[in-house]
């Protein structure tokens, strides 16, 4: 992706996200607060964030790849289950990824 295209993506997505915020403060609430709309919006983050976890941890291009990222994710899940603070979760995941990288050389 060229630098110019990347800037277009950055700016269009930023404007779109701003307009979504502004819409909530501007349109009649009855337009937004329909049961099925709130239902979908309540659950979209779970679906997309989980998809991003999976794609970021276990794929490279169009292939499934098992490497240090997945090991890091497992350690992160363990740390989250033990209620570790965010920064600790990230440091442990990163250290695991680096360790696997060094060991797998």
């Amino acid at each position: 992706m060229s630098g110019g295209t990347l800037w277009t993506v950055v700016l269009v997505a930023s404007l779109g996200c701003y307009l979504l915020k502004l819409a909530g403060l501007s349109v009649p609430s009855a337009w937004v607060q329909r049961p099925w709309v709130t239902r979908v919006v309540d659950f979209v983050p779970a679906a997309l964030l989980a998809a991003l976890v999976a794609v970021q941890a276990a794929t490279t291009d169009d292939r499934l790849v098992l490497d240090g990222r997945l090991a890091g994710l497992a350690v992160a899940a363990l740390a989250l289950a033990m209620r570790a603070p965010f920064i600790v979760v990230l440091v442990l995941a990163g250290a695991t990824g680096a360790l696997v990288h060094v060991l797998a050389g």
Binding site: S26, A46, A51, A54, V55, A76, A98
Partner: protein
């Protein structure tokens, strides 16, 4: 009279403390975002502009996550917008609390309508505190988030190969940390959230070999169908 003044100032300092504490804590996510943006091939300036203009964490992470996976512009923008839809609902909840007068205030307030400011404002004991929490929380978060984004992006740009491998493992962990609270007991319909999350991950992995990069993330939104129909209890809340 005296006791009520004390109570007011107590509530005020509690609001300020919560708002600033949350702002500083969430700032750490800004560093993770800056690093993730660098790992995805964005320039430091692009990471900075995203934090300054988009200013909604999950959407920012999704945009750079899809770009980092080799995804195209439409998939990256689509995933950011899908995650941004919840801010529209937040705006609806905030409007009666903030009552912004005039278009300029409305345009300004809209920029800070995110998870954290909504949580702070809704939790405040009255409308005055809600506005204070929104403004102080929003300002603290905005400043920290942008400063730590710069630090994260610059820091990641200076990394060597092993540190790159560490960063590659940090990015999925950051997404998991964003997702985690929604799956825990105590979150509304946590069991359904877990089901939708598992299905979203499965859809994304199954589609990875067959669709252009990034499209599988947007397509994972179909997993929302597993949430089923709106429940009567959810309608009234």
């Amino acid at each position: 009279m005296v006791t009520s003044l004390v109570a007011v100032s107590d509530a005020r300092s509690a609001t300020l403390r919560d708002a600033m504490g949350l702002g500083l804590a969430v700032g750490l996510y800004g560093a993770a975002f800056g690093a993730a943006a660098d790992a995805a091939g964005l320039a430091v300036w692009q990471a900075v502009v995203l934090s300054a203009l988009m200013f909604t964490g999950a959407s920012q992470f999704a945009l750079v996550g899809v770009l980092g996976a080799g995804g195209g512009g439409p998939a990256a923008i689509g995933s950011a917008l899908l995650l941004g839809t919840r801010n529209t609902l937040y705006g609806v909840r905030l409007l009666p609390l903030l009552e912004p007068r005039g278009w300029w205030r409305r345009l300004g307030a809209a920029h800070w309508v995110i998870d954290e400011t909504t949580a702070l404002a809704v939790a405040a004991p009255d409308r005055r505190q809600a506005r204070l929490a929104f403004v102080v929380g929003g300002a603290t978060l905005y400043l920290t988030w942008n400063a730590t984004t710069v630090a994260g992006a610059l820091g990641a740009a200076a990394l060597g190969e092993t540190a790159r491998a560490a960063l590659d493992a940090v990015v999925p962990a950051a997404f998991l940390a964003l997702l985690w609270p929604r799956l825990q007991r105590g979150y509304p319909e946590a069991a359904v959230q877990r089901r939708v999350a598992l299905a979203g991950a499965a859809v994304a992995l199954l589609l990875t070999p067959v669709v252009p990069p990034g499209v599988q993330v947007v397509a994972a939104a179909v997993a929302v169908a597993l949430a089923g129909r709106p429940r009567p209890a959810a309608v009234t809340s």
